[in-house]
């Protein structure tokens, strides 16, 4: 149960997980503790491995589109987008303007609902008994209702197609979405006031799990976790995929790189997403939603390989695809943001208290479906 450390201190090895209330799924951490302080932490994952990449090699190109929904099941539509983008790059497919705008709209709404759920989850990790979670989920549910109106499914949308999207916006959907997005900032202001005004929340988040910009870059972190450390890197700006270059938005970044910065970055990013959405609602043109040149059956991209990536809500979501010219991908590889962001977990956690480990893990915002694939 206990074993003597080199320094003669009594340490305790605890296996947190895989069944644990706040590991966000079946994730396990082998933690060595000196009292309440963490001296060593080893993440163990793979409990949810579903052979996603190998399965995709046995399916047609379009056949793995529904599987991508199950990667990061909190935000399936951006997963669709990442895969569609990679295939479009591989096959050199043009996407009509209207489809690009629809992608931006659903993508940014996905980002909003992911970050909203994050605000609730991290409060749950801090032991707030789900009070914030319930309000966050109330708002998330409204966005999911919009998704249901658009795609027929609340979560497993299967919405994107190569060269466009599966179906056009239903009549009146845009007005409903616009009306909802107008009410959203009021909720966010209230949430921010209650959360950032809470002394216990501040003392639990500030100065915990600090990650320097240099280490964050070396560790390959991406997304809000990277930007919280002060690195200005947003693939929407860097790659300028889709119609993002036509939209005006700012990329927030933190200065300290602790859990509080990661927490605040989510709030700031939601505000920017609302800006993007309002512009997209105003600019969306009429026109086709799918490139008619793309075959649905017997789709065969030319021989070659491509890496397509998007700025997902959790970070850089990339798909590396190799085609041998056949109906199935020769190689299908995913760069999941959750997994790469997890790799520096030990560095952030060592020296903190066991309660902080949960908060740090929560601030990285992982989904195990994506980590284990």
């Amino acid at each position: 149960m206990t074993e003597a450390d080199g320094a003669g201190a009594q340490t305790l090895d605890v296996s947190l997980g895989p069944q644990h209330p706040s590991t966000h799924g079946v994730f396990r951490m082998n933690v060595r503790m000196d009292g309440e302080t963490v001296v060593k932490l080893q993440p163990v994952f793979g409990y949810l491995h579903r052979n996603h990449e190998k399965l995709a090699e046995g399916k047609s190109w379009l056949g793995s589109m529904p599987f991508t929904d199950r990667l990061d099941y909190i935000c399936p539509i951006t997963n669709n987008w990442g895969y569609a983008l990679a295939v479009e790059k591989l096959a050199g497919i043009e996407v009509p303007d209207r489809a690009e705008y629809i992608r931006v709209i659903v993508g940014e709404m996905t980002r909003i609902q992911n970050h909203t759920a994050f605000l609730g989850f991290i409060l749950g990790d801090m032991g707030a008994w789900g009070s914030a979670l319930m309000y966050a989920f109330r708002e998330r549910e409204k966005i999911l209702d919009l998704f249901e109106g658009l795609t027929g499914a609340r979560m497993m949308a299967n919405y994107m197609r190569f060269g466009g999207v599966r179906c056009d916006l239903p009549a009146g959907w845009l007005e409903k979405a616009r009306a909802y997005i107008e009410t959203y900032p009021a909720f966010l202001d209230e949430m921010e006031k209650f959360l950032t005004g809470n002394e216990i929340l501040l003392s639990r988040l500030q100065g915990v799990g600090v990650m320097s910009a240099e280490r964050a870059i070396n560790g390959g972190l991406s997304g809000p976790v990277l930007r919280a450390s002060g690195v200005d890197y947003d693939i929407r700006k860097v790659d300028g995929y889709g119609v993002y270059p036509r939209l005006k938005f700012r990329v927030p970044r933190g200065t300290v790189g602790d859990c509080f910065d990661r927490f605040m970055l989510r709030i700031l990013e939601i505000r920017e997403s609302i800006q993007i959405l309002q512009q997209a609602f105003a600019q969306i043109p009429q026109g086709p939603i799918l490139n008619p040149a793309v075959k649905t059956r017997g789709f065969k991209p030319p021989v070659g390989e491509a890496y397509g990536r998007i700025e997902g809500p959790k970070g850089e979501l990339g798909f590396h695809l190799v085609s041998d010219g056949g109906e199935k991908p020769y190689r299908y590889h995913i760069r999941p943001p959750s997994l790469i962001n997890l790799t520096l977990l030990e560095e952030m956690c060592v020296g903190t208290k066991i309660a902080d480990v949960m908060v740090i893990l929560g601030s990285i915002d992982i989904v195990l479906g994506e980590v284990d694939r």
Binding site: M1, L12, V14, H20, P21, S22, E36, L123, G124, D125, M126, G127, A128, W129, G130, S131, L133, M134, Y135, R138, T196, G197, N198, E199, I200, L201, L202, S203, R204, Q206, G230, D232, K237, K248, R250, V251, P252, R253, G254, T255, V256, F260, D261, M264, L265, L268, K353, I354, A355, D356, V357, M358
Partner: protein, 416 residues
Amino acid sequence: MNFIDLLKRIPEICKTPETLPLEGKKLILDFVTWLGSLVGIAVPPWVLTLVNILVVIVAIIAVFLIMFALMSVWERKILARAQNRYGPNRVGPWGLFQPVADGIKMLTKEDIVPRNADKVVHFIAPIVMLVPALILPVLLPYGRGMVAIDLSVGILFFFAVGAGSEVAIFLAGWSSRNKYSILGAMRAIAQMISYELPLVMSAVIVALVAGTLSPTGIVEAQGGYQFGFFPNWFVFTPWGFVACVLFYFSALAESNRSPFDLPEGESELVAGHLTEYSGFKYALFFMAEYVGMFAINGLLVTLFLGGYQAPLPFLTFIPSWCWFFIKLAFLAFSLVWVRATMPRFRIDQMMQFAWKFMLPMSFAALFSAAAWHYAGRGLLGWGISAVLVAIPYFALGYFCFTRHHSADNRRYLFSE
């Protein structure tokens, strides 16, 4: 004496709600005497004493267990409302019979004992937890003349018995042979011992001012009204307010309530010392925690909120025992409210709060109370004692607890 006379007394008793419980007890004793006369013997006095004791025990246990049952559903309801939900509403009207369903579930669940557990200790821990919790309510005065045992050292006895729950939690954590349990038990010991000090200190202040350790005496010392309307409760003095707040926080920590629920710490330690308990043993822990919570808040009512005294003179028509339970219900509501609102402390922050802030403040309140007493308990004393608690408060705030945690000192850069 005949049975009809006894029956006739019932409406008479009901006319004076103030003394209803006491008269009711007398009625039961007379009923026993009548039963004796029925078989033609004079009931010996020791039987009457025994019945007297039994009536009190049954009444206290029944009242507190009913309160526990109601509280368990009430808490879930309030928590649900705070969280934008409905809460239990399936069993009975407004979900009121939920405790019955919970009890049946708990009784029929399998009682799991881990293979490596210390089985004897694992078995006795819930009992060790429940017994002190059930002894505590005996010491509290619920109304005028309504105290089961009027101990002259009641406060001292209360804390002595109440400390037993710490042992029980450690027994539970140790015997379970589970790492979460042992961590939870370690946290519980650290937390409860730390918060025992400010808890006892703030009670000592009241004992100092009231000049007695008897709960009844303390309540009587808070009787009467200043200027004819302002109650003489200790919470309305500067030192009393500070001590009351300290006592409230300590009581939260002692009863392991959020935000001091570190020993259970669901998001970290799964369920702490309760991890390996199931079925009725778990229910016993739950029961003990709630009864202990009522008892310690009952003590708060006794010490600071004037016990069974009415808040305003014209409200004295409501029986004194009602006032006690109204105040207790208000405190219980506030506990749930806090639980629905606050995230949990971290262990080091919790210890710092106890040792660096609450303990010094309780000493300051002690000096302030002494000054209040010797300055004649009037407006002069009020002013002096206010200054005496304000200076340490701001000094501690300035030197130890500067608000270095703030959302305003962060800068966020934006790139176009």
